[in-house]
């Protein structure tokens, strides 16, 4: 059993309830902050001011949004399947909070005299549990699309189900290297295994693959094909209004924060301080680690907003091709490399063999990329190639000299 799990094991029942409540409150508050933050940051990127009416600097805009949504008329279309139509946003909003149960948000702290960690539970398959929670969350989107009884939502639901299944594979594969490195699937163990080097450095390819697939998994720009307004109006939530739409809204932002928190846990050392600032971890009786955790989550959230402000939406077939033909093969190859290296070090192979293997892998990658580049160039040349065709039978404007003589 991990150290985290044994610390969490003696939590009294009241503390578990309080922690659950705190997680819920934190998620809702972070969502409010995220909506405001996103609008402000995107506005800055587009040389606008952004929301500036409600509250100082427009800070209350997300509250105003929430009140507006709640007071709107709640419409259920005639063609909708009533039960599923109501069930879908509930599934979406309920499952998005589940992931936070296994995320360690602080180091060891004292909470009303009890020594604990701000994490609900540390199960041995913690990371897979997060994957499971998000995969149930997709049901909300898919069922919303189907139950609305109209075409655009249905297409949006279909797109998102295909999209999430595809990107979940890449995401799951990016976890494998982390599991092998930490020797465990529990979030607590993974955080502890990063006490020397963060996984984002050691397992950089996994980190990149995870970051890409987390954007695909949460239906965010540039992968927001499930709600592409240019093609599908609003996608799966076209027919939703009022509080039901607000639930989807909440679920989307909580999901973003959840995948960001998971990225923090898996690749950025969770609540531990950045290298060189380790002395801060004992400040405020350990609570200062929570600030590090939040900062890392905000970093990922900023990345989400940055992507949205920068990149145009991908075409659907390109997006699927990228997921299946690039992300998945690359992660499988990377897992093979990591597993071999891991086994070599564990079996006590000599430094020379390990260096030779690493060099071989680097060489293979270089050869593969150069081959890919040359084949891409060939394909471009082929696209430029104009086949020989007979001269037209109709009169044409004067051609270059040699031809003019021929005509005369």
């Amino acid at each position: 059993m991990s150290e985290y799990a044994s610390i969490l094991l003696d939590d009294p029942v009241w503390m578990i309830i309080v922690k659950g409540l705190l997680v819920f409150i934190l998620c809702v508050l972070l969502t409010l902050a995220a909506v405001y933050g996103e609008r402000k940051i995107v506005a800055r990127m587009q040389l606008r001011v952004g929301p500036n009416r409600a509250g100082p600097g427009g800070m209350l805009v997300s509250l105003a949004d929430g009140v507006k949504l709640a007071l709107k008329e709640d419409i259920i279309p005639k063609a909708a399947d009533r039960i599923v139509f109501i069930l879908a946003p509930v599934i979406s909003a309920a499952t998005c909070f589940l992931a936070f149960a296994v995320i360690p948000m602080t180091g060891v702290v004292s909470f009303f005299g009890e020594e604990t960690i701000m994490q609900l539970t540390d199960i041995p398959v913690g990371v897979l549990y997060v994957l499971a929670a998000t995969s149930i969350g997709v049901y909300g989107i898919v069922l919303a699309g189907w139950s609305s009884g109209s075409t655009y939502p249905l297409l949006g639901g279909l797109r998102s189900s295909a999209q999430v299944i595809s990107y979940e594979i890449a995401m799951g594969l990016s976890f494998v290297a982390v599991f092998m490195y930490a020797g465990s699937m529990s979030t607590g163990d993974i955080v502890q295994a990063q006490s020397q080097w963060w996984n984002a450095v050691v397992l950089f390819p996994s980190f990149v693959i995870y970051v890409i697939s987390m954007v695909g998994e949460t239906n965010r720009a540039p992968f927001d094909l499930a709600e592409a307004e240019g093609e599908l109006v609003g996608g799966f939530h076209t027919e939703y209004s009022s509080l039901k739409f607000a639930l989807f809204f909440l679920a989307e932002y909580v999901n973003i924060i959840a995948v960001s928190a998971l990225a923090t846990t898996l690749f950025l050392g969770g609540p531990s301080a950045p290298p060189g600032l380790g002395f801060t971890e004992s400040w405020l009786g350990g609570w200062f680690t929570f600030i590090w955790f939040l900062l890392k989550v905000f970093l990922f959230f900023f990345l989400f907003v940055w992507l949205r402000g920068t990149l145009p939406r991908l075409r659907y077939d390109q997006f699927m091709k990228f997921g299946w033909k690039v992300l998945i093969p690359v992660s499988v190859a990377w897992i093979l490399v990591v597993a071999t290296l891991r086994l070599l070090t564990q079996e006590g192979a000599s430094q020379f063999i390990i260096a030779a293997f690493t060099g071989g892998v680097v060489l293979a990658v270089l050869i593969a990329t150069s081959l890919y580049e040359s084949s891409k160039k060939k394909a471009e040349d082929a696209a430029r190639y104009v086949p020989e065709m007979p001269a037209p039978k109709f009169p044409v404007p004067a051609l270059p000299k040699a031809k003019i003589e021929e005509v005369e």
């Binding site: 041995p124 897979l128 549990y129 049901y139 249905l154 190639y385 104009v386 065709m389 037209p392």
Partner: protein, 254 residues
């Protein structure tokens, strides 16, 4: 009462109800939702019986991927498709009843053999080194051959499905945009290089089934979609000629 007992007795009746509902509801999608519920409930049972890996994988694989594909197909088939009760293949009902009875008998005998005359010991010993490690030892140690053979079978099945469903695109479709543009300007006639004439665009009629008139008054067949021409729905231009004006025929000029 332990937590396990409370979870079991709240969830088990719901699961049975959902399983029955899955058989009895009319719409295929409702059935699929209830099946997903049953799968998630099963996963919770695994979780509370100290098999966390199995429980989570049950959700990720079955609820997250397999059921989602089911739902995908159901939604593609149609928004309001409900199950048809007509027996399409002869004798299917008999076969189905026989198979389900045989399956029930096999399950009963398995459970009976596993439980009668034995005291359950729980998973404590098996989970001694951790649940995941214990499972890994079984899958990649004791049962490695069975595991590998099943995975080879599954890969073969997936490949077979892909080969069967794959369609080769015709080489014409792969011509690049540039080649097609060039071909248009070096083709037989420059007249259509800028696009075919639109249909019926003149003052007296404006519809897809009337040919356009060329400047010399002849109707142009190119302005009519092939599909309409094949159906024989093309109207004659003559019908729209007016008294006292030149004939809209073009026949005399040909």
């Amino acid at each position: 009462m332990t937590g396990e007992v409370i979870v079991f007795w709240t969830l088990a009746p719901l699961t049975v109800l959902a399983a029955l509902g899955m058989l009895l509801v009319k719409k295929a999608v409702h059935s699929a939702i209830l099946l997903a519920f049953v799968m998630i409930a099963l996963a919770v049972f695994y979780l509370i019986q100290e098999a966390p890996f199995l429980g989570v994988v049950q959700i990720v694989v079955y609820t997250g991927a397999v059921m989602m594909l089911f739902l995908f197909i159901l939604m593609l088939v149609g928004v309001d498709s409900s199950d048809s009760l007509v027996e399409n293949i002869k004798g299917l009902r008999g076969v189905a009843i026989f198979t389900s009875l045989a399956f029930a008998a096999a399950l009963t005998s398995l459970i009976a053999r596993a439980t009668t005359g034995r005291d359950p010991v729980g998973l404590e010993i098996a989970n001694g080194n951790g649940n995941v490690q214990g499972l890994a030892g079984l899958i990649f140690g004791t049962y490695v051959w069975a595991f590998e053979i099943i995975s080879a079978l599954l890969i073969t099945a997936a490949l077979g499905a892909m080969v069967l469903a794959h369609t080769q695109k015709s080489p014409e479709a792969r011509l690049s945009q540039r080649v097609r543009a060039t071909a248009r300007f070096r083709g037989e006639s420059i007249g259509t290089a800028a696009g075919l004439p639109g249909s019926g665009v003149f003052a007296r009629h404006n519809a897809v089934d009337v040919p356009a008139l060329l400047p010399d008054g002849t109707p142009s067949d190119l302005s009519i979609s092939n599909l309409i021409a094949q159906r024989g729905d093309v109207q004659e231009v003559k019908r729209y000629s007016l008294e006292g004006l030149p004939k809209l025929d073009g026949e005399d000029k040909k």
